[in-house]
Subunit: 327 residues, 2 copies
């Protein structure tokens, strides 16, 4: 069986490629485990960290290019993980690019999947950016989606497409709304949420870091480790466990930035904690204030998706999985 | 000021053209009333009932044709009413056509509006088909949108686009989720909801009619008269009254089919009532059972949108506005 992964050169994409290589099999159309012979990984640019395993083929290109995608999602493709996307700030800055990649790209992927005629499983990475406007303190599975960013609108449209293509029998789709992924390895990026990883990651290296929001700022968090576990679980669950509702808010550990700093102190000591410099950036603080604060993800938990048990565990997962080893 | 109306040859489109001609002015960008010099009416085919007023120009064509639409939404366009769409059953039958007209067509209209650079007011006709799945008995403004038809998915995507284009300052948009419009003049069509108009309209002409659902089947209704009033009101309200939330569920009179038959008896007598033959069509009964049953439209009522006071009033509006006069 062939597996296609879009956005495969990103942080989560790479981890997903590695996870599927390790696992070796995935649920086939009838639910039984089938050997994964080939992973077709695509993204706009290659990443030298892509595993060199002979089962992996990397192809660079635009996800909104129908000819490219039709050439990747070929007969024998049993599973598609659609992670490609222009991030929130990027879609806000370049309106047309956001729609081209995040909406048109998703349509191109789903059309290629439909053309297979075999209703492959499709896992779509959505986001808490689907929520916006006047939000309650705790978001439940019944919360309506009124996104207040172009990225959020595009993700909700993707979820609707996945649901509609599934209902029509063209694919067997599953969308996951991801909490803020922490701790992201690597360097800070341009996302407004980047500080949530930086305030853990940089002090663990012994480097100073600026935290641009107040310790009381509250966020739902998920480790990359459990996010990858969720992609796999979303794929493996039989369609009957999903029913008609193919949209799922994942479970999170909800923490204030102060909680996160306190957890860092517990895991890495006062010295690490003291490397955090609190210096409010009103613009970032305002963006973060509009985000969901706490999730009550009953459905995800009932379906066996897991939240990190604590912020400490989330830091521990980073140390085990991603932190560059000294010496 | 020029006004562009898509889907203008449809039942509601024609009524809207007439209403704007009668009214003569609409709110301009600064909120003050501006004379309507020209109405550009477009639809796939002409309708001989289109008013011959010299202010009206009709152009036939596809709403998803960017060149056509850019040629209609020209500088000086202060208002756009986007009513064009493939109906529910049509979008279900022809998946590709549904997305081309209902999603791509809406994007084409919004892009043309954006290119004006003047953020024109855009009123978008959405539908209760936006709701689906496991619905509560009463739908509130907080109900999440989980459509279970392609038409419903496309309408929700249109609402999201209208909200996003508005947030970005490209347009000043307003989406209205219409209840089932009753009594529709003319002939029965292929919509599953067509019986809701037929069971009133046909007996009023002295003709027999089959009601395919049980008298207990429950539906939210709105007269064409108050629907047109709502389009105008949606347009005229200042953006500040809408705020960030540009999606609105209209108010309805909620009635069982039995209530509707009883109202017909009150308005037109036992003889009209006896022309209804109750003969359940399980397929139609099943579709109707999945629809919203009752609306609690607090926001619409607070914003001054009106529901018909009773089913009797709704029948009376048909008799006054649309019923062919005897002799």
């Amino acid at each position: 069986m062939q597996v296609v992964i879009t956005g495969a050169a990103g942080m989560l994409g790479l981890k997903l490629v590695r996870k599927i290589l390790d696992k070796g099999t995935l649920a086939g159309p009838d639910g039984s485990q089938v050997k994964v012979d080939r992973i077709v990984a695509t993204d706009i640019v290659a990443n030298p960290a892509m595993p060199t395993d002979k089962r992996v083929t990397f192809v660079a290109g635009d996800v909104f290019d129908p000819a490219l995608i039709a050439g990747l999602i070929t007969p024998g493709t049993g599973s598609i993980f659609h992670l490609a996307g222009v991030v929130s700030a990027g879609a806000e800055r370049d309106f047309d690019l956001g729609y081209r990649v995040n909406l048109d790209g998703t349509r191109v992927v789903l059309e290629a999947a439909r053309k297979l005629g075999s209703a492959p499983r499709v896992v779509f990475a959505s986001s808490l950016a689907a929520y916006g406007g006047d939000l309650p303190d705790v978001i439940t599975d019944e919360q309506k989606l009124t996104p207040q960013t172009s990225y959020g609108c595009q993700k909700v449209m993707g979820e609707l497409l996945v649901m509609d293509y599934t209902r029509k029998g063209f694919i067997d789709g599953r969308s996951l709304r991801l909490p803020t992924i922490v701790v992201r390895p690597g360097k800070p990026n341009l996302a407004a949420s980047t500080f949530a990883s930086s305030i853990i990651r940089e002090p663990l290296k012994g480097e100073r870091v600026i935290c641009p929001v107040d310790p009381s700022a509250q966020m739902p968090l998920l480790s990359p480790r459990l996010c990858i576990e969720a992609f796999i679980r979303a794929h493996e669950l039989p369609g009957s466990d999903w029913g008609w509702n193919r949209q799922l808010m994942l479970a999170s550990v909800d923490a204030s930035v102060g909680d996160m700093a306190a957890a860092l102190k517990r895991v890495a000591g006062q010295k690490a904690y003291d490397l955090i410099e609190w210096k409010i950036d009103p613009m970032i603080a305002k963006i973060v204030a509009g985000w969901p604060k706490r999730l009550s993800s009953k459905r995800a938990l009932a379906m066996g998706f897991r939240a990190d048990p604590s912020v400490d565990a989330l830091i521990q997962a980073y140390i085990e999985d991603d932190m560059p080893k000294a010496g």
